[in-house]
């Protein structure tokens, strides 16, 4: 079986379940918004960087950040080092979703570990982290 699909299926499972858990906890957010939000760094991140990291155009990133801003999950502040740019920053409201997401993630990992075993789980993570070195544009 095709390794692309093998990767895609559990990746979608994680996305769907975490999103569902976050929404169930009362947050209103979409998957596209979450993908961008996830990439906002602790000191704020420029729109252009977000777009690169999330692999979408600046326009798309801007569109999603607009919505995240309206919903109160991020704010835009001027970038002190560059008058053209603004920094997107995560708000306290959005930070409240982090433990919810982490809890669901832990639940998923526990289920997976139960099914494939601790050793294989560690091997999986190791292989994926190494793959990230050559496939993640944001490093």
């Amino acid at each position: 079986m095709n390794i692309g699909l093998l990767l895609f299926i559990p990746s979608r499972e994680v996305e769907n379940r975490i999103l569902a858990a976050v929404i169930a906890a009362g947050f209103e957010i979409t998957q596209a918004q979450a993908r961008v939000l996830m990439r906002v760094g602790s000191d704020g991140t420029r729109l252009t960087e977000l777009a690169e990291a999330a692999q979408v155009t600046k326009q798309t990133a801007g569109f999603l950040v607009d919505q995240l801003e309206k919903a109160g999950y991020v704010e835009r502040v001027p970038d002190p080092t560059d008058g053209r740019a603004r920094l997107v920053r995560v708000t306290d409201k959005a930070k409240e979703a982090v433990p919810v997401a982490n809890a669901e993630m832990a639940r998923i990992e526990a289920e997976w570990e139960q099914h494939i075993g601790k050793r294989r789980m560690a091997q999986l993570r190791e292989a994926l982290e190494m793959l990230g070195e050559i496939t993640d544009p944001y490093r």
Copy 2:
């Protein structure tokens, strides 16, 4: 780092590169169409099954199959065992894209194997195949 993202990044890499290779070979197809097309079985598959496998609604699957049909990549034939249903079948034209996709897939796997090693690659595949047992709705 979050295992959802770790899975997502290489999965997107595979999707993007295979799609790009297929398009470069002269086929006109989108990623959404390809995801459905990939799930069509050798004896034909019902729309409802395709929708389940690809995790979209019947309407969305129907929309995409319409386009695949117009482009000549699938055909709809009556299901002899059920008058309500029709079977979606891959045409010869679409089958011509298979070697192109396989070649790109082989190229990607070779690159990955070079980076993480043959052993880890085998472990990765094993772990993912087992995960598929609990995350793939289409088995």
